[in-house]
């Protein structure tokens, strides 16, 4: 295998003294969709948030092990965390537009990063909204409030907002959990296009979705990585009994 985009090495994590992730090791391939799936409380979201250090915002946590992005430890003291988060973007389960217009939402990241040139900003808006499959629906009302959009549109706006920074890695935490099937389909289709350019890691909201989008899939159960293989294999011929029970719907 070529050099992985992200290498997670022996990562354990606890919150308030309670261990919620135990010795997880896995490599994430560039320009592919990797899925973290499993029952609630398995540590999927936690791991996702460790990859761009969003858990720094939470007090009372402890992490051991290493996480390497392009071979560099992102937890080394002196790491420029805002820059890391520009390289590793994130989309959350519940779409949360920032106060303000559609335009302001998309440009929030680039403007904080210091992009001022208005031609460049216009390009960013069109590119990221197009990639998130939202451009045609909003191109005539970029300056209207973002909260006026429907739930599905808001979630695609949040994806566009992350893409505006051209991150190398895009983390998606159940991005379609609040969406109807049509919006879900649109989001999934845009994921397939995104992986050409980005490394995508997604926590899906169902096993079916996991099977639909996964190039690689990791099954998490109670803070442990149970099985990590290609998407085709894990959903058709799981090796571990626990994985099999879960993907065939016997529990979870």
């Amino acid at each position: 295998m070529v050099e992985p985009k992200i290498r997670i090495e022996n990562v354990s994590y606890s919150y308030d003294g309670k261990r919620i992730m135990n010795d997880v090791t896995l490599d994430i391939e560039a320009n592919a969709i990797t899925v973290f799936f499993g029952p609630a409380g398995g540590g999927k979201t936690t791991l996702l948030r460790l990859l761009n250090r969003l858990n720094d915002l939470v007090e009372g946590t402890q992490m051991t092990g290493r996480i390497l992005l392009d071979g560099e430890d992102i937890y080394t003291p002196g790491t420029h965390v805002p820059n890391l988060r520009r390289r590793v973007g994130m989309v959350f389960a519940l779409p949360l537009p920032l106060p303000g217009s559609i335009r302001e939402n998309v440009l929030y990241g680039p403007q904080l990063a210091g992009t001022r040139d208005s031609r460049r900003l216009d390009e960013i808006i069109q590119r990221s909204l197009t990639q998130a499959a939202l451009w045609d629906e909003v191109k005539d009302r970029l300056d209207s409030p973002a909260v006026a959009l429907s739930g599905g549109q808001q979630q695609r706006l949040c994806i566009a907002r992350s893409l505006a920074l051209e991150p190398e890695v895009l983390l998606l935490d159940e991005p379609t959990s609040g969406l109807d099937p049509i919006s879900t389909k649109k989001v999934e289709e845009s994921l397939f296009e995104l992986k050409e350019q980005y490394t995508v890691i997604i926590v899906p909201h169902s096993v079916q979705q996991a099977a639909r989008v996964a190039d690689h899939a990791a099954f998490f159960l109670m803070g442990e990585l149970v099985e990590y293989r290609s998407g085709n294999e894990i959903f058709t011929t799981p090796r571990d009994k626990r994985t099999e029970d879960y993907v065939t719907g016997r529990f979870g």
């Binding site: 915002l57 994130m90 920032l98 409030p145």
Partner: protein, 281 residues
Amino acid sequence: MNRHRTQRIGYAFLALVTLAVVAPILVVVGIIIARGFGAISWEFISAMPYDGMKEGGIFPAIVGTLLLTLGTALAAIPVGIGGTIYLAEYARDTWLTRCIRLAIVNLAGIPSIVYGLFGLGMFVLFMRMGTSILAGSLTLAIMTLPVIISTGEEALRAVPTEFRTVSASLGGTRWQGIRHVILPQALPGMITGIILGLLRAAGETAPILFTVAAFFLPRLPSSPFDQTMALPYHLYVISTQVPGMPQSIQYGTALVLLALVLSMNLVATVIRSYFRRRRQW
């Protein structure tokens, strides 16, 4: 009992309670207007007092109160907003920050005369400001800070954490998130605290008693180190210290103070609703 009737009785009771709250305010304002309106004239609000304050106007007291309120705002707003942001967004939960919070809550309950004595000891004597607008403004500012900070903290905490997370995930530093996402949403609430605090400061007598207020000073202050007359203290003086003061002047002064405070309130409310509309959701 029939539940419709219960509901009607409930409504009637609530209406009665509301009336009990509103009625005293209407009565007080009504009496002040009725008895003071006759004293109001252009001369009354624009001239210096003379003949033992029984003649002329209250211009220096009006200017004094405006200047004191301005000085209080200049001192209290930056410190108050800064302290609020620090406490709500940066300070971790340690014994030190808990002590600070406890102190702020307790400060809000201290009688205003105690602030006056503190101002006298701290600013007038120890820091050698003398009885001056500067000392009075700082004393009023310290009295105002707890209100500004505790309402401001509430307003900041009312903004969901997720906004901070989203801002961080887009490469925002903590300060950028506060500046661009959190503050705009919390500002209307913070401004409410500032209004409440400043209005209270404008109407206070005790804190300015020893720190700035002049009994009778028929000229305008020329620097922050001057004494000045001020409406609340002037009202106290002409109501209790000067025998034979015509009642209309007393009520006229009260009316001007009331009008001043209410119009400042109005201006602040307009500012607040401007920020609220700008928030767009």
